[in-house]
Symmetry: C2
Subunit: 489 residues, 2 copies
Amino acid sequence: MARISKKRQQATEKLLEALGTRKVKLEGDAKYMASFDSLKLAFAYDALVIARSEKDVGATLQLANEFRVPVTTRGAGTSLTGSAAPAKGGWVLDVSNLNRIKIEKTKSMAIVGPGAVVGQIQAAAEELGLFYPPDPSSLKYSTIGGNIACNAGGMRCAKYGVTRDFVLALEGFLPTGEKVSWGGEYKKFATGYNIRDLWIGSEGTLGVVTKAVLRLLPKPEKKWTILVAFDSDLKALQAVQKLLGDGHNPSILEFLDSNSVYCAEEIAGVKLFKGLSLKPLLLVEFDGNAAQLRADKKKAIEWAKATGLAYREARTEKETEVLWSARRACSPAMFSMGDSKINEDIVVPLESQAKFARFLKQMQKKWKINAPTFGHAADGNFHVNIMYTRSDKEECKRAKGAVADLMKKVCELGGTISGEHGIGLAKTPFMTVARNEAEIGAMKAIKKALDPKGILNPGKIFEPYEVWDKALEKVKLPWDKKPIAKKES
Amino acid sequence: MARISKKRQQATEKLLEALGTRKVKLEGDAKYMASFDSLKLAFAYDALVIARSEKDVGATLQLANEFRVPVTTRGAGTSLTGSAAPAKGGWVLDVSNLNRIKIEKTKSMAIVGPGAVVGQIQAAAEELGLFYPPDPSSLKYSTIGGNIACNAGGMRCAKYGVTRDFVLALEGFLPTGEKVSWGGEYKKFATGYNIRDLWIGSEGTLGVVTKAVLRLLPKPEKKWTILVAFDSDLKALQAVQKLLGDGHNPSILEFLDSNSVYCAEEIAGVKLFKGLSLKPLLLVEFDGNAAQLRADKKKAIEWAKATGLAYREARTEKETEVLWSARRACSPAMFSMGDSKINEDIVVPLESQAKFARFLKQMQKKWKINAPTFGHAADGNFHVNIMYTRSDKEECKRAKGAVADLMKKVCELGGTISGEHGIGLAKTPFMTVARNEAEIGAMKAIKKALDPKGILNPGKIFEPYEVWDKALEKVKLPWDKKPIAKKES
């Protein structure tokens, strides 16, 4: 152990020598804030590297290889799974300053650094009449590098696809510190193995991105929104099937189960339908040109009348905001059910959604736990929010039991354990539930082939990690929503 | 050598024992026809396996691993690169009978076997109002397995994306014979490494697909087509930039250079503009709903008037066919310039297209060779058709020189050597032109990690192979177009 420490110390000295104290921090606030991500599980580590150029990234990786130092790359650190936390110590490589955004209008492309904030990429594209569809809820803070690392999704994915579907090329470094690029400023290649898409979603374990080329679409002309209330969770999910089965292609199709509606109505005081109480909702948005929207609107209203209890449509921007208020309020209001939340972004195939709704009820009853659920119904990617109080050991045990049941069930239903957050540390115990031995074996063989020294983001995805035993940092992050407490009546 | 042969013989005996003579062919026409693909470079091999089930695939791979027998998977064999030819002998695994097609309307998905013909998948989807966009010119014959193997493209890719963009999940076998599945009947996953996309485009060297889940879109309501003639290749390519820069999003944007137009007009006798001769063309299609098309049409006609010499639009299906006649006729007419064609599907970024047009002229002059060029201008994926006479050794040398110059140039221009055909055998000498040492090293490391015995499709992609020294089979394949000779006037 002592020998390793000495070697590590020597490595960090070399790093300081190469990059200087402006870029290498051995202590201080910035270093502390990079010891965890949005999971708030902190780890001790040696040095924070604040990269200012691609060269800094290369230099860091070359030294890390020479001295076998673990390197964990990070952007904003919005990950909910611990994937950006330095689980095995070593160095944290912060690339958030590599945040160039250049929009190429004729080519419908964005050339961006890994630290570019996703919302800022979208805004820059929109200024030129273009559109970057992926919209994770973290988009005001999260960087494209992190979005690529976990193949981030969002609400518009069922119609438009996930981050992967918009990445044309990646440039960066192999774990060995060698410079590579996968793809270019073009839309097609069939030139050897596609390591671009292997990098995407690999949670920073197979390479470090220093540049990405993104595909952009023409910006849709208009949007139209409708909110529909249903008699039961099951009825709402059946209506999803009806809508999609009839050939509709909504840009957003968000489901709020009755528990989520309870949080919005009873805790946050957002009530959208008079005379109806605790009724699950579907929030549906269509986008396109005016003629397309007219047709969509007509058919959607027919569908709402046939399947729902009541509906409201938005004619103005202000009305649209009102329709979104339940969706926006339910999440912070959930903290009235417990000071801690596990947001499991599981996926279930469309035909299993009714079975899944029944399971959710049973699960909450069995484990005496609240798990308000909402999410992207068109692609079956639901956020099951398991609420608990971290200091209540007995409740923690129940929450843990509920998570295990949930993971097993979604796989039984033909779904999977993560749709857009990734595995990180938090979901490592469930990799063997989701994947067979041969599949995990192939993944590990690839990791070993590309990162023979095990430098990049070690401890993630494959090594089972128990988050429940650890204390979490008590710190407010910029994207943490202020909990909503029950309004006095 | 004798020892290997004996072991091989024993392996083939075991294979026969396991699968029977109905599925294993040691001689005959079927075996001969599987000794080459559309490149027509034939190789001797031991046995053809005609798989009738997934189980047959597994059994073949397990035996191949036990006895270290090379296995080359094939569908229809439309590959132009030799990627489906058994370059190292062994066994050919024909999966064209695994051709199930099941359309899931509500989920907008197609569940297909690897042997399903792409055109038949499209037709089945269209019957239910759905749409599978990738449209390689081989689509009446080529199978989805082959399309996945080379990440096939086509004309509609600039708007809709390539095969990869429509593959949600793959099921099949690792080279080791272990059963795996990557993804499921859902649209999102972030559950460990994405080996689905690593398989796509890996030309059958990393796995064998036995089932694919494809994403489908709503079928566009209508199409509208316009054909525009330009004063020069350069002017036509500049007009492409103008069209895309103004925010148009055509579903098809095909370029025919003046040499291709020569083939259509002078050889095939297709003349579409009175008073204009040998003028390069852009064939532009828009799709969408009626209102969208009205807007597109108005703007496209303005663009044609501003940039072109003349235009024709199609009001009816019949008129559309007329506009397509030059594009369809130019390819078979090229054989008047030589009995052999190398169709190089290179990619150049949009901003380099003008430079590329100048290079093409110089290249043809320097090597005294005809290389009529057409292709998908919106994504810079051009087909440079180098025409030569195979029996003319001196002309072969010049054609070979032209190919080498072309490959070097497209990489210099920021493009790449293949957009949709893949590397196979034919492009192996140029892998080091397109990719750096670290990139190729990473690919080879992955191959070794997943296929430690080197069973699957050995000799492809990475090992330089010289096709010019070999004789090609003189056989007519179902998709070979009948050459068009000059019409008597």
